[in-house]
């Protein structure tokens, strides 16, 4: 999307307030509303609209895979024919073991891969087994691939909304 969707300042403040963490109190939206000088109904109605328009994908608990034992985080990257990437991407994205699946541009000659699939596992062996499943699905369309394991998570926060 080239043009950011027009959000008013209240929308932005609500997103900022809910993104950093819903308070763990019986009436969390009331707490947020009070901070923002709004009513809880107004906050909830706006969030509902933001979800409907796809600005917010969902409200939920964001698990920390690493702390939960999924210590192997492999970004699997694949070089597949551009004319096949939509069909193949949908197939790979539907796999349970894939948490994110994206089409991205190549950056030749350094970077030939155009399909990204994030795979989490409790060991590198588990990630490799999952990558083999992906390779099996891609078949002859898989011209090259590799797995980039993360060795350090240096920063991972929700999106910061600028002013």
């Amino acid at each position: 999307m080239d043009d950011p969707i027009l959000l008013d300042e209240t929308d932005r403040r609500i997103i900022r307030a809910t993104q950093s963490g819903l308070p763990l109190v019986p009436r969390p939206y009331h707490v947020i509303a009070e901070k923002l000088g709004l009513t809880a109904d107004e906050v909830m109605a706006r969030i509902e609209d933001l979800i409907e328009f796809g600005i917010i994908r969902r409200i939920g608990a964001v698990p920390n895979h690493y702390k939960l034992g999924y210590t192997a985080n492999g970004m699997t990257v694949w070089d597949v024919p551009d004319e096949q990437v939509d069909v193949l991407g949908k197939r790979i994205g539907a796999l349970d073991c894939v948490s994110h699946c994206y089409h991205r541009p190549r950056y030749l000659p350094q970077w030939p891969y155009n399909l990204f699939a994030m795979v989490h596992g409790r060991s590198r062996e588990e990630v490799e087994a999952k990558a083999n499943t992906i390779a099996g699905l891609l078949g002859e369309h898989n011209r090259a691939h590799t797995i980039l394991y993360s060795t350090r998570i240096l920063k991972k926060t929700g999106l910061r909304i600028g002013d």
Binding site: R57, G60, C101
Partner: protein, 151 residues
């Protein structure tokens, strides 16, 4: 332990948008609101959950870009720390590859994005692989977790 698992698996999405979401969850799970609040508090405290909140998909507000750099090993710590300190960077990972630093830049508009990338390039003297999202095939609705006693 069961309540922790249910909270994690069933409430990565569809967290109730109601005046008393924790009471609603308690009702669904057949426990008390206090038990839900205590369990969630513990999951946040032990970092099993990084947060409970709104998940904003890429490019829904402003523009975002996945960037990668091949950083010489002896400069990696310093450059990684500096990149993390930028407010426009929300994810930053070290990965085992020639391209060893991978980060996501969020900007309010294209011009802002150019400014941030230009600043990083100038400050580090390194080229940036620009890998914007062209299409998302998996709509991230959460991730099924099998429990191995980590909580």
């Amino acid at each position: 332990m069961a309540i922790h698992q249910q909270l994690l698996n069933e409430f990565q999405r569809d967290f109730p948008l109601s005046p008393s979401p924790y009471a609603d969850i308690a009702l669904q799970l057949g426990v008390t609101e206090d038990e839900v609040l205590i369990a969630l508090g513990k999951l946040v405290e032990n970092q099993s959950i990084s947060r409970i909140g709104a998940i904003v998909p890429p490019n829904s507000i402003g523009v975002s870009l996945l960037a990668a750099m091949a950083v010489p090993a002896e400069q990696l710590d310093e450059i990684a720390e500096w990149v993390s300190s930028l407010p426009e960077v929300n994810h930053n990972y070290e990965r085992e590859h020639r391209f060893n630093l991978w980060f996501v830049v969020n900007a309010s508009h294209d011009g802002h994005m150019e400014d941030v990338l230009g600043h990083i390039q100038q400050r580090t003297g390194l080229a940036i692989l620009r890998l914007p999202l062209l299409e998302e095939f998996h709509i991230d609705l959460g991730f099924p977790l099998e429990f191995i006693g980590a909580t």
